[in-house]
């Protein structure tokens, strides 16, 4: 049995920030990540971030990941385990892990005083005929394939979803030398930032708003997609179908929080549409209804990496503080972080997300 003060499940942006924050006060931290690499989905973000300097604005996502990983590795209080999957949490609070070495696995048990769960999110799909054909990939999968493994997803892509992810990945497809046949979105308006949309349109990629995907066709791989206009009830209008010869369809219709650990840990859960699905209730310091389980990042509600990092820092500071570790700058720092988070969720674009967060506090 391994004993530690704080166990963090998930080495993405929020988990890394949580580890750094928690270790500051002297708490012993164990950070586990199922992948070979730390950094989560930052690894494949080739674009520069927005926001303020504090959240690494104008830095490319993968460089932010590298900086955080470096900081974690330099801390004596943080033990890191890559290729290690958290399997379950038991009634006595023990968390079981499977650590992988090449083709062998070992089984570990951890007893931690507190747990910070930063397990991120899962990609959503859409229901339509033949949506399981090879060539139909989640947006994140396309990004992983090109930006991490330097492999093109195919020759000609239909992007489904004109939110920020759909727009950014369309641009990244062009950068990789892949043709983007078009971007569709059932909504009458483009969901993502107009600065991204304009860049795409200037590159000659059409954006069809008010269109949905009707069906996919192909034998062992996608060959053709049919799209159609939708009416005010989001139903396809007969006679408006367009056929597109594409070998890749990229589904960018959002994410849903990865919530298994909170369910298993007994946290009170709430379905919040604005946050992407089931999330644990939590106080402003991100403590769930199970006193020693904290949440941060996309598993707390779908947002983006900047707020995930701030949330991670808040959860890390709060978790070590609640265990009695004294850190002098605590009060000032945590208030600053809470304000930063408010800033990130400010303005008109943040209305939706603020409404979601108002439903999960306790």
């Amino acid at each position: 049995m391994i004993h530690t003060d704080i166990l963090i499940i998930g080495g993405g942006p929020s988990g890394l920030c949580a580890a750094i924050a928690a270790a500051k006060s002297g708490a012993e931290v164990m950070l586990v990540e199922r992948s070979q690499y730390f950094g989560g989905q930052l690894v494949k973000q080739t674009h520069m971030f927005f926001g303020s300097e504090k959240q690494y604005a104008a830095t490319r996502g993968f460089d932010i990941g590298k900086k955080l990983v470096e900081e974690v590795k330099n801390s004596d209080n943080i033990k890191i385990f890559h290729s290690t999957t958290a399997l379950g949490i038991y009634e006595d609070g023990v968390v079981t892990l499977e650590q992988k070495f090449e083709s062998e696995e070992i089984y570990l048990k951890v007893q931690a005083k507190s747990l910070i769960v930063t397990t991120g999110a899962l990609e959503k799909s859409l229901p339509f005929p033949n949506n399981d054909l090879p060539g139909i990939y989640g947006a994140g999968a396309v990004q992983t394939l090109m930006n991490e493994y330097l492999v093109k997803p195919g020759k000609r892509v239909l992007m489904v979803g004109a939110g920020n992810i759909g727009l950014i990945i369309s641009y990244q497809l062009l950068q990789a030398g892949v043709e983007v046949a078009g971007i569709i979105d059932a909504s009458p308006r483009i969901g993502g930032y107009l600065v991204h949309a304009s860049k795409i349109r200037r590159s000659g990629v059409p954006i069809f708003t008010g269109y949905t995907i009707v069906k996919a066709e192909g034998t062992d791989h996608l060959e053709k997609a049919t799209i159609a206009k939708v009416d005010q009830h989001w139903k396809p209008i007969p006679g408006t179908e367009k056929e597109m010869n594409v070998d890749v369809m990229c589904i960018s219709v959002g994410l849903t929080p990865s919530s298994a650990f909170f369910w298993q840990g007994g946290c009170e859960m709430e379905y919040v549409r604005e946050l992407g699905g089931y999330v644990p209730k939590r106080n402003r310091y991100l403590r769930t209804t199970v006193g020693n389980i904290y949440v941060a990042g996309d598993s707390a509600g779908i947002e983006e990496a900047s707020s995930a990092m701030v949330e991670g820092s808040i959860a890390g500071l709060a978790a070590s503080h609640d265990l009695g570790f004294v850190y002098e700058g605590y009060n000032r720092e945590i208030e600053e972080l809470l304000q930063e988070l408010e800033g990130l969720r400010g303005g008109e674009k943040g209305i939706h997300i603020r409404r979601g967060y108002n439903k999960v506090g306790f």
């Binding site: 199922r34 992948s35 070979q36 989905q41 080739t46 490319r60 090449e102 083709s103 899962l122 990609e123 799909s125 399981d132 054909l133 090879p134 060539g135 139909i136 990939y137 989640g138 994140g140 999968a141 992983t144 394939l145 090109m146 930006n147 991490e148 493994y149 330097l150 492999v151 093109k152 997803p153 195919g154 950068q175 990789a176 030398g177 034998t219 062992d220 791989h221 990865s258």
Partner: protein, 103 residues
Amino acid sequence: MNQRINKHPIIDIPLRQKIKFFYNGKEFFGFEGETIASALHAAGITKLSESIKHHRPRGFYCAIGNCSSCFMRVDGKPNVKTCVEPLRENMVVENQEGRGSII
């Protein structure tokens, strides 16, 4: 079919060690640091598995180990998530039938 990206405005393309592996008995090459699924995809193989009941072709969907549609038999072991399993020299990768069995 070669789907490798050889030129990129942002990402430096590193020089990587070539890795030999076998897919359904045939010799293939991939690169160090990539996964089984990415090496197969680069070679034009996108059908990785079949649905258990109706034998519908399946590729990966998420590419980060969440969705389970890329399960293959690797070095005799079934249900390996090929989208996250690192490629290693002389690996034997095969399409798997049904749920896969270890005995």
